[in-house]
Subunit: 368 residues, 2 copies
């Protein structure tokens, strides 16, 4: 595959340079976004949905590169739990991403792609860009900020650092502090990309070669962590792929092997490897407690939002224990928070899949 | 690193070709091994220790390439749980390996290294080679067969397929049927190696280039699965490596990142990438039930050995549930089996580390 090119969609160029946590400035900054549903005259019904690592702004509309439905199509739309008959839903591609927001594939001042000259960003920087986008859209308050996985981290960062903006914060399968095991898995993914000679120290744009092999391996490794052992056994077990017997070779004999190879390969058709480096780096840096003097509760001192925290019993990547810690910190500041661990078989990916109990939780929380 | 070269040690060339599960024959077959302690005149005290994925025959002696103590030095030796004052301990490098036993780096009939022409082997093939080695050594019965992880699978395969040989079988942190999640992780490792252009379809021997980058990534990914989330948090947490603050770059900022990179890199100095492909393939194929008509209990119909099965509460790669299934199958055949889940913080790697309770279990079982 050649370099992934994002199609032109809706976007805003921020009027000011973005001051980053690293101390660097980023300018110009484009934020690409999609909206669903009408904004009320009093602007009281805006809901920001934040996407996860491999997501994008196409939360409820057809993805322009894959032709597939939006990644949360089941959750966002008319009559759905995040009801676009009622809410004005906004979803922006994170900076560092590759679907139209400024990222490593964007042009730097010298007219060449940034590549690895793109500054290392944080989750807070991603949110900073979205806050600036909201300002440009004339939206000062959000009815709700919602996200799963890395999207949940953004929702938390928004609540902690811009406490006046969200009235409700819904965090699904996420953490306030990235744990060591997740840092480890993400480091493997980055090393897989950087070990690919086609990566060329990040300067592969326009060369006709991209580190697809490395990105594919990174995606395969990550994908396993999104599933539960139970769902893998249920869905694939040790079943063979289109054959009666093992081949005694290195083809994908097992369905799970074939599935993973497909997941890895197809990811390279819609995602930029450098973006994967920057986005996972931002996640591994995420520590809301550290940002606020080492005490997580202090992060939420000023927020008046009410929270809803959801975990899944089979999510071993962001287990319930991490959500519980977050809830304890919210409790310590007297914040209104409801917390539920849902039972769902799909592991971390449960937030994206058919879990009717999650629909009810989301819908119920937005009606409070 | 250039191709890993195994130093010459003790070895036997098998007198007959090895008939493999694939239907192919392998010849000639060298089995490299080490022994510790004297063989009794009546040959009643032989203990076979089987090594895990990345192990070798140097169970209790200095590794000739790394200069480090044997991988189970704490368990095997004079006065230790597997007491070499009493037992004659034998440990052989598996075929497909790279420490002297015939593997993909060995010469094929045409005088060139096998590379990917080496036949795909199974766990039973590995055991078959060791059974032939024992015959050459004049050893018909084993006081015990012992192994952790892939070593445990070999011990199980021995008991199932050569039921007259072992009198005792000790299986630690292993399974009788490789589950889907483990197949998945191993597929990622193989894809990382095969994605490395230096792999050259396996024909890298003598080219001065080896797929070290791919092998390193494979090892990093595997290594995470050997540890527990608790031990990662305890040992590394989010601590930074030799710095006061994050670098806002892609260096190994976190200790866990630095540790994993080291684990990956150092592995390439002692392990052959093709061997990694073949050995993990053998593991993913392992299904003792399937080998015996689909019913695990039938695998143990003829064995008269007594068993001891050990799992660790923090081992999420080979969790207690898998050991329990094995024990149920053994129970179903009326086999004498003791089963214990030990509490140890180190995840799957617990079997290699300082877990005094395991010492007591091993020592107690060998004294029965």
């Amino acid at each position: 595959m050649a370099t992934v090119q994002a199609p032109a969609g809706r976007s805003i160029v921020l009027p000011e340079p973005l001051q980053l946590d690293s101390g660097q400035q980023l300018a110009p900054v484009t934020v690409a976004f999609e909206t669903y549903g009408e904004l009320a005259a009093d602007k009281s019904n805006a809901v920001l949905v934040c996407h996860a690592t491999s997501g994008d702004q196409y939360v409820a509309s057809v993805h322009p590169l894959t032709g597939k439905p939006g990644w949360w199509d089941r959750m966002v739309g008319p009559g759905k739990p995040i009801d676009t008959n009622r809410f004005h839903v906004i979803c922006a591609n994170v900076i560092g991403g590759c679907m139209g927001s400024t990222g490593p594939a964007s042009q730097a001042a010298d007219g060449q792609p940034y590549g690895m000259r793109f500054p290392v960003i944080t989750i807070r920087d991603m949110v900073r860009a979205q806050v600036a986008m909201l300002a440009e859209l004339g939206i000062e308050r959000l009815y709700a900020a919602i996200g799963g996985s890395m999207g949940g981290m953004q929702a938390l960062s928004l609540a902690a650092n811009w406490p006046d903006i969200p009235e409700r914060v819904l965090v699904v399968g996420a953490t306030a502090t990235m744990p060591a095991q997740n840092i480890a898995f993400q480091e493997v993914g980055r090393q897989a990309i950087m070990a690919d000679p086609s990566w060329q120290a990040g300067d592969y744009y326009g060369t006709g070669k991209a580190p697809d092999a490395g990105l594919s391996v990174a995606r395969m490794a990550a994908h396993i962590t999104y599933l539960s052992e139970e769902s893998l056994t249920e869905k694939f077990g040790r079943r063979l792929q289109d054959r009666q017997a093992k081949s005694f070779g290195f083809d994908a004999d097992f369905q799970i092997e074939s599935y993973l190879r497909y997941q890895g390969l197809s990811f390279t058709t819609r995602f930029d490897a450098n973006s994967y480096l920057y986005i996972t780096r931002a996640m591994s840096y995420f520590d809301l407690a550290e940002e606020h003097g080492g005490r997580l509760a202090d992060a939420f001192e000023k927020t008046r939002a009410r929270f809803c925290v959801v975990s899944f019993d089979t999510d071993w990547l962001y287990p319930t224990e991490l959500s519980r810690r977050l809830v304890h910190a919210l409790n310590a500041t007297g914040t209104a928070v409801s917390f539920v661990e849902l039972s769902a078989p799909y592991g971390h990916d449960s937030f994206l899949l058919d879990v009717p109990a999650l629909d009810r939780v989301v819908s119920g929380f937005l009606n409070q």
